[in-house]
């Protein structure tokens, strides 16, 4: 990561009864960076955000902003701005009063408040709507008022809790673009919670992928996609088919593995491995070829037309020999392959060739095809 760490989370833990919502989480975020907390539901991303905002108190750990530990400060004293999932606009106050609320807490005199409310509204392109009741706003307008309200008191950190999840799909992409532009313009350190990978990749410079309260991997979107560190990351980020394979040899950071039909492939892999393995294959990690010996063969069982390309689901012929004691292995596995739109038809027998990238090998036996 570049830049000096502005926000530092150290060994943060939070339990709710027997459930460890966040466990030993450490992250650093440079000043002005936008970090996305990504993960499935129950992964602890929202709890992390609430710990940052001060709505929950951590059992352990520190939250340092510019060197100051705020983990035990009340929310009001943290100077963090937050946009809530359902916006939480005060229904009994109008747009202007909502935005002025945080300014009044800071003791900004009334005369200046009017000006700053107007500026905030201008910033989100809602100039002149001060006296509008919040109930009369559209979903997109509410989202922008919530953003203006959070930014008006000039917070040190901006927290966004699934900020786009309540918008129409048609509105979501445009709002996302506007949000990204605004945050970049202001240059505020931002943490975004989302369960949508596309949103995280589109908005964030860095993504922290969480699962069961733990950090799986922190990195740029490219790093998460291209160099997943765990099977969970490989399966959660992007599409991948999980194929059980047998490790034949591993030397000079190249592993030789056996695929269905006794076919051998070579896969880049730095860390040592042993025993049964799972190979995660990206759709672009293999290509369609003519069936033959030395090639993984299978039948096309599904075809999804995507426009410029098509996604083929290929059921392989033949199982992996002697993968070990794992009895539950399917005799045949299915692999997703990206190909030209007219490369094959359902029912065709095809061969699969590795492309040298988009293949990620992990020890142990993982699940079936992910996503």
């Amino acid at each position: 990561m570049t830049g000096s760490p502005f926000l530092r989370i150290e060994s943060l833990s939070k339990r709710f009864g027997a459930l460890a919502a966040v466990e030993d989480l450490s992250l650093t975020i440079p000043r002005g960076d936008l970090l996305a907390l990504l993960g499935p539901s129950g992964s602890g991303k929202t709890t992390t955000l609430r710990l940052l905002a001060g709505f929950e108190t951590p059992d352990q750990g520190r939250i340092l902003v510019d060197g100051e530990d705020v983990a035990r400060l009340p929310p009001a004293a943290r100077r963090f701005g937050m946009v809530f999932q359902h916006y939480a606009l005060f229904p009994h106050l109008d747009v202007g009063e909502n935005i002025a609320f945080g300014l009044a807490s800071q003791g900004v005199p009334a005369s200046q408040r009017v000006r700053r409310v107007a500026e905030s509204l201008e910033m989100v392109e809602l100039a002149g709507l001060e006296r509008r009741p919040v109930g009369a706003l559209s979903g997109g307008q509410q989202q922008r008022v919530a953003l203006a309200r959070a930014l008006a008191p000039a917070p040190r950190v901006l927290l966004l809790d699934e900020p786009l999840s309540n918008l129409d799909p048609s509105l979501r992409e445009r709002t996302r673009r506007e949000l990204r532009g605004l945050i970049q313009r202001i240059g505020i350190t931002t943490i975004l919670v989302t369960h949508e990978q596309e949103e995280a990749f589109d908005l964030a410079e860095h993504v922290a992928l969480l699962q069961k309260g733990r950090l799986e991997q922190l990195g740029t979107p490219e790093e998460l996609y291209g160099m997943p560190r765990t099977p969970f990351v490989a399966g959660f980020i992007g599409r991948a088919s999980a194929v059980p394979v047998r490790l034949v040899a591993h030397e000079a950071e190249v592993a030789r593995v056996e695929l269905p039909g006794a076919v051998l492939w070579e896969v880049q892999r730095a860390e040592p491995l042993a025993g049964p393995c799972v190979l995660y294959i990206r759709p672009e990690g293999v290509s369609l070829a003519a069936p033959g010996s030395g090639v993984v063969s299978g039948e096309v069982v599904e075809r999804r037309f995507l426009g410029a390309a098509a996604l083929y689901l290929v059921r392989t012929v033949g199982a992996v020999r002697s993968v070990g004691s794992v009895a539950s292995l399917a005799d045949a596995v299915t692999i997703e392959v990206l190909g030209a739109p007219e490369a094959a038809r359902i029912g065709d027998t095809v061969g699969l060739l590795p492309q040298g990238r988009g293949l990620h090998l992990f020890g142990g036996v993982g699940g079936d095809r992910v996503r």
Partner: protein, 552 residues
């Protein structure tokens, strides 16, 4: 955390205060039932068990309550369906009229019934004159009379609950039934009615408990027919305190048993939960005749059920001693109302009732808000506190009156007992205890509807606890506060059952003044007090409704 510990300490203190108000007096009644100067004794219990009249009164209470539930359901549910689902001219007016008895203090309802259907009431006068009878054709007395009054005042719970449940019902459910080929009747029987079950069970529970605790109707119309509430009062007035305690304990157990059993039949509540789309449009009758029938039925029943109130108004204009055997009073005057304002002796009960009900309401609101905010912030005592708030609901007013009278007639400050009986404080205290469930339910519901994210948003925008409470929580709770305040005030303002046990000459409330006017045969004055009680109660109720409308 310091905040968490402070919350827990506050919670414990609050629990102690509530327990002192709610549980402690009941505990004293239970122990006194089996205790005496010479130690524990079952003497009074034995006397209770051997006395036939006691068992008869217990059975009468239970039977009357069950009959009241059935009767009220038979009147209330069809009226609810009629006004919610069938279109006829004047439907909205009828719907409002039918809801009126909910703000009617029980004593006023009883009074109105007496003036209309009693031996000297309009209807009996009318029948007597038409038939040329020498005596009144009937006596409004005994179990049937009490049941009649109960049904005529308690149907409103079934009526309101049915309407609310119908309004909350997802219309797509009956649309689905229709698209599956069910006709209107089958849809109602197989889809609507089963979905109304939780609401009907709730209304049934409410009627059962209200009827079990009912005092005014059996007291005035019971005659020789005794239920537990009147039995307790008469035993207490006869000075047999220990037996009164046993009777009180018996009624309390019956109430708790009823609550337990009915809770079980209440069933799932989630069925009505999902709701989407637009509210169903009232169905138009298929023929002009059907529409006419619906209108006649609706208006007829609305008039029948609101006629007693009109009667009350009319009687309040009768000068003292002028109306004896005529069908209609021969002369009218505003003198009864003038006397209320001009005569300080008459004005005083009104002012007394106002301040006592007001003070009790404010105190109940404060306690309910404290419980609500502690329980919302996950204080460990939250559930206990909510339970303590709700408990008085299951306890008939007579039981509480006896319990408070017993507890606060002894000076023993080290065990939390003070002499309050005979002072101006005992009635406000009694009203407060009786108001806790009403205020508690409305305010806790208000807290539950409040999105916690709104308060969190306030905190994240730099507002301290005080400012969040002042600027966000309380303004958003306004509808709940208005509902709680109006319900609590109206209940306390019209209270009769605890007042009759605990009042002193200096603190006699309106209800006692009505009773004493009746005893002096000054029906006009009694009716005028009744009208004032009714008008002030409705005014409070509708003003609070306006407040609710403005923010809701």
């Amino acid at each position: 955390m310091i905040g968490q510990r402070r919350r827990e300490i506050l919670g414990i203190l609050l629990a102690l205060v509530l327990a002192w108000l709610v549980v402690y007096p009941l505990g004293i009644v239970l122990t006194q039932a089996v205790g005496g100067p010479g130690g524990w004794t079952l003497e009074a219990v034995r006397r209770f068990a051997q006395e036939k009249n006691e068992w008869r009164a217990l059975a009468a209470s239970l039977g009357l309550s069950i009959a009241s539930v059935i009767g009220s359901a038979l009147v209330g549910v069809p009226l609810g369906v009629l006004t919610a689902r069938v279109a006829f001219p004047g439907r909205r007016i009828v719907a409002t009229l039918l809801g009126l008895p909910v703000v009617l203090p029980p004593l006023v309802g009883v009074l109105a019934f007496m003036f209309l259907y009693g031996e000297t009431g309009f209807i009996s006068h009318l029948v007597q004159q038409i038939g040329g009878l020498r005596e009144s054709p009937w006596r409004l007395e005994g179990p049937l009379a009490v049941l009649l009054v109960h049904v005529a005042t308690m149907y409103v719970y079934f009526y309101l609950f049915t309407r609310a449940a119908l309004a909350g019902l997802d219309p797509s459910l009956s649309e689905a039934a229709a698209s599956l080929g069910a006709d209107r009747w089958r849809t109602f029987r197989r889809v609507t009615l089963p979905l109304l079950r939780p609401a009907l069970a709730g209304a049934g529970l409410l009627v059962f408990m209200t009827s079990l605790a009912s005092f005014s109707a059996p007291y005035i119309f019971g005659g020789g027919f005794r239920v537990m509430t009147t039995q307790i009062t008469s035993t207490k007035l006869n000075g047999d305190d220990r037996l009164a305690m046993v009777e009180t304990a018996a009624l309390l157990l019956l109430a708790l048993l009823g609550l337990l059993l009915l809770r079980r039949t209440e069933g799932r509540r989630d069925a009505v939960g999902a709701r989407k789309g637009i509210a169903p449009v009232p169905v138009r009758a298929r023929s002009a005749l059907g529409s006419l029938g619906a209108a006649t039925l609706g208006w007829g029943l609305a008039l029948l059920l609101t006629l007693p109130l009109l009667t009350l108004l009319l009687v309040s204009l009768v000068p003292r001693g002028t109306w004896t055997v005529e069908a209609l009073p021969p002369s009218y005057t505003l003198g009864n109302y003038r006397a209320l304002i001009a005569d300080p002796v008459r004005l005083k009960p009104i002012l007394t009732s106002l301040w006592m009900a007001g003070a009790a309401t404010l105190a109940a609101l404060a306690l309910a808000i404290a419980v609500g905010s502690l329980s919302r912030r996950k204080a460990r005592s939250g559930r206990l506190l909510e339970g303590l708030l709700a408990l008085p609901w299951a306890v008939p007013g007579t039981v509480f009156a006896i319990a408070l009278a017993t507890t606060f007639s002894v000076r023993a400050p080290w065990v939390g007992r003070f002499v309050l009986v005979g002072t101006i404080w005992i009635l406000p205290l009694a009203y407060l205890v009786r108001n806790l469930p009403v205020a508690g339910r409305a305010i806790l519901a208000g807290f539950r509807q409040l999105d916690p994210a709104l308060e969190e948003a306030g905190a994240s925008l730099g507002a301290g606890k005080g400012r969040v409470l002042r600027r966000i929580t309380l303004p958003l709770l306004k509808p709940a506060l208005a509902a709680a305040a109006s319900l609590a005030f109206v209940t306390a303002f019209g209270d009769f059952v605890t007042s009759i046990m605990l009042y002193t000459y200096d603190t006699r409330p309106i209800s006692m003044e009505i009773l004493s006017s009746l005893r002096q045969a000054d029906v006009g004055q009694a009716a005028a007090f009744g009208v004032v009680l009714m008008l002030l109660s409705s005014a409070v109720f509708f003003l609070a409704g306006e407040g609710r409308g403005a923010t809701g």
